[in-house]
Symmetry: C2
Subunit: 334 residues, 2 copies
C-alpha cells in the first residue's frame, strides 16, 4: 500500500511533515510513502535530518495552493500544485490514499473534480472523531457543505455508519441527529425533514441529540449540516482552549497551587490531549471514490503520523467500496 | 420599582425561587417584589422559612405552563398560569419587570402576544452574557428564532449594542458576526447578507468571528441566528461539563493528586463558576416593550437573585425605550 503525503501543506512546514511521514514508515512496515512537493526542498530537508528509507519516493510538485485562494479556481489553474498532483496520483492508482494538511476547500474541490465522488453520494462530507465519556464519537459534516438538503444528511449518516463499523469497529452504530432539542419536531425545516428520512431508513437512528450531550449521548455518529458542524467543532475547540488557559492560571496563583500543579502536571497534560486534534490525526473526506485525509492545518508531526495511520486503516477496510455497496442496497430495497 | 417573579418556573421549585427573591430584597433596598404562583403554596413556603417583608405582595396564579406544552397554545389557553398573569401585570404597568425560569417558548410567545414587541423589531431575541479573557461578551440570538432573515440579525446587533452600552457600561461596543470563517464572503447566504447590512450600518461592526475565538475576540457583541446561537451555547455547556468531569477524575487518580486537589479545590470551584449560568443569572428577552428575564431552568436561588438584579438594572436603564429611539434614529438617517 502506498500513501501520498502533501509536504507543502499546513503551518509547520516541510520538515515537520517529513518527520511525521518517517515516524509512520517506522511504525507501519506495510506501507510505502510518496512525498509530494518541491523535490529539491524535500531532498535538502531529508539530508538535514538524515532521513533515508527505501520505501519512500518523491513526486515533484512545484506549486502550492494557499489557504486564501478560491478553491475550485486554484485546482483548475495550479496543475503543478502538491494537491492536484497528489489527487491525480490517487485517481490514477499510483497511490492508495492522499494525506494533506492544506486548504480544506482545495482538498474538497480537488476531491470532487479529480478523484470524483462515490456513485450515489451528492456531497462529500468532513467527518471528525471526538472523545466521549465512553469511547469515541464521529461527527459529520464538520464543514464541507454550508448549505445542505435533507438527503445529504441522510447520506452523511450512511457514510458515518460505515466508517464507524469499519474503522471504529462498532456494531450497528447508533445515529443521532444534532438539533436544538430532543423532540421530533424541533429545529429548522431541514432538520425536521432529515429526521423523517433517518427515521424511515434502515439505519440505527436514535433521534435528536443536543450539542450539550454530544460527549454523553448514546449516539456513535452525529450528523448535521456543515455550517452547524463547523460551528460546533470550533466552539468545542474555543471552550477547551479557554478553560485550559484558566486552569493554568489557577496553578500559578500561589506557592501552594504551584506545588499542586507539579503533582498533577502529567495527568492534566494527558487530559489536555483528549480534545486535541493532534492525537486524533485527520479528518476524513467521506464520499470520495478514494481516500483523502485532511490533517488539521496546525498539525504537528504526531498529527501527520496519525493521519497516515488513519489513511492506512481506511485503505485496508476499503471504505469507499462499502459505502457504494450500502447505497445500492438501500436503493434496491426502497 | 416592582419586579414580578414567577415562583412556579424551573426545576428547583417554589422554595428555591422564594429564597432567591428574598435574597434580592435584602440586597436591593429599592425594589419591591410580586410573587406569582399558587397563593396557598407560596404562603406555606414563606411560613416554613420564616420569610417576611413588607415590600412583598403575592399575586395568585393557579395554573402552570409546562415545558413540553406548545407555547402559543399554552399562552392562549392557560389564562391563569403564572406566566400569563405575570405578563399581564407587566403589560398593565402593575410591575416593571418579569422574571421567570419557565419555558423559554412560553415566555417568548407570552412576550409577543401580551407584552408586545418594540416598534421596529421584527423578532425578539434571547441574549446571554458570557465571560471572555478580558471581560464580558454578549451573544444573541441564543435560541428564540430558528429561522432568521438578515434584517433580524441586524436588529439583534442594535439591541445588543444598546444592552452593552446600558448594562455592561461599554462605550461604542464592537459587534461581530458569528461565522465559519473570518473572510467577508464566508458562510451561508443569510450570513453574507447580514455581513453587508452590518457593514453599511452605523454600528461598530468589526467583521466575522469564528466560534473558536468567542472568548478571545475583540467583539463585545456577537450576533447569529437562533439555531446557531443555541448550538453554540449548548456546545459550550457540554464541553465545559465534559472537561470538568475529566479534571475531577485527574484529582482522584492517586494519593498525590488527591493532595493536589485539596490545594486548589477552592480556586477550581471559583473557575467552574466562570461558565455557569448561576452566576450570570438570566438571559434577556430583548425586543419586548417591557423587560422579561428568562432565568435558566436549572437556576438555583443564587441564579434567581442574579436574574432579579439584572431585571433591576434593565428597568433602571430603560433599555426598551433606548432600543426604540435608536431604531428610529437609524431609519431616519437611511
Amino acid at each position: 500500500m502506498k500513501i501520498a503525503i502533501d509536504l507543502m501543506g499546513g503551518d509547520k512546514g516541510i520538515s515537520s511533515n517529513l518527520k511525521g511521514a518517517f515516524m509512520a514508515l517506522d511504525e507501519f512496515k506495510d506501507i510505502e510513502i510518496a512525498l509530494i512537493g518541491r523535490e529539491e526542498e524535500i531532498k535538502r530537508a531529508m539530508e538535514n535530518s538524515n532521513y533515508e528509507n527505501e520505501r519512500v519516493e518523491i513526486i515533484n510538485a512545484d506549486e502550492v495552493i494557499e489557504n486564501n485562494e478560491e478553491p475550485a479556481m486554484a485546482i483548475r489553474r495550479k496543475k503543478d500544485s502538491s494537491i492536484v498532483i497528489g489527487m491525480r496520483a490517487l485517481k490514477e492508482g499510483k497511490v492508495d490514499a492522499f494525506v494533506s494538511s492544506g486548504s480544506t476547500g482545495a482538498l474538497l474541490s480537488g476531491g470532487i473534480l479529480i478523484v470524483k465522488r462515490i456513485k450515489g453520494i451528492d456531497r462529500p462530507a468532513i467527518g471528525f472523531i471526538y472523545p466521549k465519556v465512553d469511547g469515541n464519537g464521529f461527527l459529520l459534516d464538520a464543514g464541507a457543505n454550508s448549505e445542505c438538503k435533507a438527503k445529504y444528511l441522510y447520506q452523511f449518516a450512511i457514510m458515518g455508519s460505515i466508517f464507524a463499523e469499519s474503522i471504529l469497529k462498532m456494531e450497528s452504530p447508533k445515529v443521532g441527529l444534532i438539533n436544538i432539542g430532543e423532540e421530533k419536531e424541533k429545529g429548522i425545516e431541514l432538520y425536521k425533514e432529515s429526521y423523517r428520512l433517518l427515521e424511515e431508513s434502515k439505519l440505527n437512528f436514535i433521534g435528536n441529540v443536543e450539542p450539550r450531550y454530544i460527549f454523553k449521548s448514546k449516539a456513535d455518529i452525529l450528523v448535521c449540516d456543515g455550517f452547524t458542524g463547523n460551528m460546533i467543532l470550533k466552539t468545542l475547540e474555543g471552550t477547551a482552549d479557554f478553560l485550559f488557559g484558566n486552569i493554568k492560571s489557577v496553578f500559578k496563583k500561589s506557592f501552594k497551587s504551584k506545588i499542586a500543579g507539579l503533582f498533577v502536571k502529567d495527568d492534566l497534560k494527558e487530559m489536555g490531549k483528549t480534545l486535541s486534534y493532534n492525537d486524533y490525526g485527520g479528518a476524513l473526506l467521506l464520499g470520495l471514490s478514494k481516500p483523502v485525509i485532511k490533517a488539521h492545518g496546525s498539525s504537528d508531526y504526531i498529527a501527520i503520523k496519525n493521519a497516515i495511520r488513519q489513511a492506512r486503516e481506511v485503505v485496508k477496510n476499503d471504505i469507499s467500496q462499502s459505502i457504494e455497496k450500502r447505497l445500492l442496497g438501500e436503493r434496491n430495497e426502497n
